[in-house]
Every structure is written in C-alpha cells, then in structure tokens.
Symmetry: none
Subunit: 249 residues, 2 copies
DNA sequence: AATTATTTTGCAAATATTTGCAAAATAATT
DNA sequence: AATTATTTTGCAAATATTTGCAAAATAATT
C-alpha cells in the first residue's frame, strides 16, 4: 500500500468521523503506529488536519469534501437536521452559514421545496443543486481555505440588502454564561451580521458543543430564537437553558 | 511493446484504479522496473499523473468525465493547461471563469506560486485550496446549478473594483467570422465584463470548439490577446487565425 | 505520586530511486 | 543494403527513503 493511499484513507476517515486514533488507524491500515504517526505528521504539515495526543481531529474542510454523497451517516447530525426541517416552509429566504449541520439539513430538504437559500458556503450550493426548485445565492468575498467558506468585508457587504426569514447558524460552543462563541474572529463578525438581517436565528449544536467556551463571542444565548440539539429535554446538560425565551428542540 | 503502448496502459490502469505501483506495472507490462519508472517520469513531466515513492497516483481530474469516456485522461486538456502555465507569474491577479480547462490549469499550478485568483467557480476555489500560497476571491451572486458557477448582476458588480492581469476564458466556440460565442446569455455578459477588467485575455479552446458557432457572442477574435489550443501551428483549422495580432500557442 | 499510554529518537533492515554504462533496438543517413 | 546515429532498455552500484522496532522521554490518567 502506497503512503499516499494510507493518507487518503486517513483523510476520508477523518472526514466522516471527525476524529481518529492512531491505534485505530494502525489496525485499519495494517501498518505500525510509527508509520501512521508519521503520516499524520505529514498531513498536519500540509495543513489538512490537526494532530492531537493519541490521534488527529479534522478541519471542517474535510467534512465538506466527504459529506457530499458517500460516507458514514452520523446519526447525531441527522437527528438535528430532522428537527430543523420542521421550521422550513415554502417561499422563505433561508440563510445558512458554514456549519456542518447545514449539510445534513440541505440533504434532507424535500425535493419539491421552493425556498431561496443564501450561503457563504460553496459546498452547500453544490449539495443544494440537487433540489430543482431551490434558488441559491452565493455570498462572495475572500475564500477561507480551512473552513471552505467566504469571509470578510465583501461577504458582509453582500448581505446588506438581504432580509432573511431563517438563519441556521453553526457554532463551536454554547453556554448560558458566555453565550455563543467560535474560534475565528472574522467569522464571528459575519455571524453577527447574519443574525442582524434574519427574522429568526436557529442554532444547531452538537452535544459536544454545549457548555463549552471559545474565544470569539457571537451573541448571548437569549439572542437566539431556537436551539436544536440531539439531547432529550430531561438531560442535565440542558438544565440551565430552559425558560430563557429560547425554543429548544 | 512500444513505449507509447506501455504508457497508455499505465494511464488506463491509473484511470480505473487511481493508483499503481511500479512493481505491478513491471509485471503487467513485462519490462524492467527501470523502464516503467522512466515511463512514469515521462508521464509526470507531461502532467498526466503524479509520481510517488513506489508508484503513481492519478490527478483528481482524471475522474472527470470527458468526451473520450469516463476515467480516461483527456490529454488535450493537459496539453492546453501546460501551455497556459507559462503565462502565469508570481504576484499577478488572475481571473478564471467556469471553463473546464481552468480546472486543469489550477491543478497544474506550482505549489509555491503566489498569486490571487478571482473566480465565479466555487469548485475551482476548492481545487486551489491545495495551494497554500494562492489567495482566492470568490465572486458572489445567483448560483447557476447547471454550470455550477455564480452569474448575474451581482457577480458583475463584484468585479467592479478589480483590475486583473490575466483572464483565462473558456468558450464554446471560436471562429474568425463570428468571433467567440457561448450558449448562455447571462454568462456571455459576464465574460465581457471580465475581459473589460483584465489586462490580457487568454482563451483556452479545445480542438472541437474551433470554427464552431454559438448563439451569444462574447467578442471578436481580434479582441483576444492569446489563444491556446492543442493543435500544431501547421494545422489547417488554424489557417485563418494567424497574423491578427493574437498570440497563438 | 504512581501507573499507563503516547511520543520522540536513533537505528537497522527492507525497499525504492538515481546514476552511469553497455547492449540491443530503432531510426536516419549514405 | 550497409553504415551511422539515436533511442531504448536492463543492469549494477551508490544513494535515498520507508518502515518497524526498542529504549528513553514525555504526557495523560488514575
């Protein structure tokens, strides 16, 4: 097996699972841990993943590449996407950012739905191309390779004359005290702008994002209209989130 | 067995398997590893594959559908792309539209090249993401599903304050009498705008596009700065194209 | 603080590549 | 048709790369 093949497998697995351990990779690829470790180091040098103690985690870039079409279905994403679908109605203008969940929402949208989707995520535009009746507006600007989205002042300017009905926002962290925050400054500004031009903001948050903290704050929890998670309403992690004027699905 | 035959076999195998090892090739072709190695080196020089330790892997565009059938390398595209590369220099602003050749150019660009690429083609942005030093500006606007590009007045407006050095234009047809023309009205307008903001316009035209005619005219032949084809200079099809002030490669 | 897991480092064996060379095959010239 | 030049091919020696291992160092966990 060629080194490049192995690295390809690593990236694919990362694209679907978000994280891998070196032990797993060694078994899957049937080479020593030293070899996979060296592969992972090379891939990190090329900026394609982030190496951590014991394994590696994906840049969202990879998710974009492999989520379209093949790949293992991540049930948590699907659960969230299904809930999100209920909020979508014909003839609405929907804003979708670079959040991974948005891919799953896009894939699940009914084929005959007539809406306009505005997005800064080109890969989302590709996925939505399968829907004949959806109109797609792509936001221009500087293309940020790592997250595979457009960003910057041009992107914000493009939003100036748009009024959206729903905004499906992705986030890296959400908590009662610190609100919503993400890892990238410019993107946090963009998300604020997106909120400001949308009638409703809906956050889709994986379990792991809840009660975490990140560097760049986007908004307070109470600024949201709706939070969608895969947790049940009885779950402890959600205890502080109720009765704050935010719908929780 | 002729060298060319062997190389053909290598490319075909690469087209289906995406990767080959030199050991396998040596056995299949029944020549020494030195010979297959030399073949692979030649093919790499021609931009038809990527050589790696122990074998070779296909370029990602190998999988792209071509008139010659799926999985077959379209050498014509690669030939044109190779010629186009010579025009690209560091620190230039390069405009690339939705032309198919632009994928090949993008993939063949040197990894250390420092340029800015402006494009209305999101898939091109993805391909260019592999180049760490290339800055990418994506043009916003209505996303036209069929061609997977952004189009319309917003896209044209985005070009307003940009001055590009080179514009690599794709076309559906080119002839002396009718000039350049394509099949889509809105796109023809966009191409005109793109020409107007670029110091040089280079057209990459497949053999089959030459001396054809299409519905929406973009410009006259003499408005171009350079025409790149895979034909040789002696070819009849090009007879009328010379001495019009347009470089022909 | 002790235990366990992971990483780093240097090393040796296996494998692959590069280089120059000579023989064979092919193409060009007389 | 014979000679000459050029290209192709396989080989062998010198290098370089990859791989797995083991010991030491470091990080994470209990």
């Amino acid at each position: 097996m060629l080194k490049e093949e192995r690295q390809q497998v690593i990236l694919e697995k990362l694209g679907t699972d978000k994280k891998v351990t070196l032990v797993d990779l060694g078994q899957i690829l049937n080479v020593s841990y030293d070899s996979v470790r060296r592969d992972v180091i090379e891939l990190e040098d090329r900026g394609l993943l982030k190496k951590v103690h014991g394994g590696a985690i994906a840049h969202s870039y990879l998710a974009m590449k492999s989520s379209k079409g093949l790949g293992v279905v991540n049930t948590e994403f699907v659960t969230i996407a299904k809930k999100a679908l209920k909020l979508v109605e014909n003839n609405k203008i929907i804003l979708m950012d670079g959040g991974t969940t948005n891919f799953y929402i896009a894939e699940q949208l009914p084929k005959n739905l007539e809406v306009t989707v505005v997005t800064n995520n080109p890969h989302l535009a590709t996925v939505l191309s399968e829907h004949p009746k959806i109109e797609i507006i792509l936001l221009g600007g500087s293309f940020y390779k790592r997250y595979q989205i457009t960003l910057g002042s041009k992107t914000i300017q493009d939003l100036e004359n748009i009024q959206a009905d729903l905004y499906f926002m992705g986030t890296n962290s959400i908590s009662i005290e610190s609100g919503l925050a993400i890892r990238h400054y410019e993107e946090s500004i963009l998300k604020q702008k997106m909120m400001s031009i949308s009638r409703k903001t809906i956050v889709c948050a994986l379990e792991e994002k809840i009660n975490r903290e990140e560097n760049y704050k986007v908004c307070n929890f109470t600024d949201l209209d709706c939070l969608i998670t895969s947790l049940n309403s009885s779950d402890d992690q959600l205890s502080g989130f109720w009765n704050k004027g935010v719908d929780i699905l």
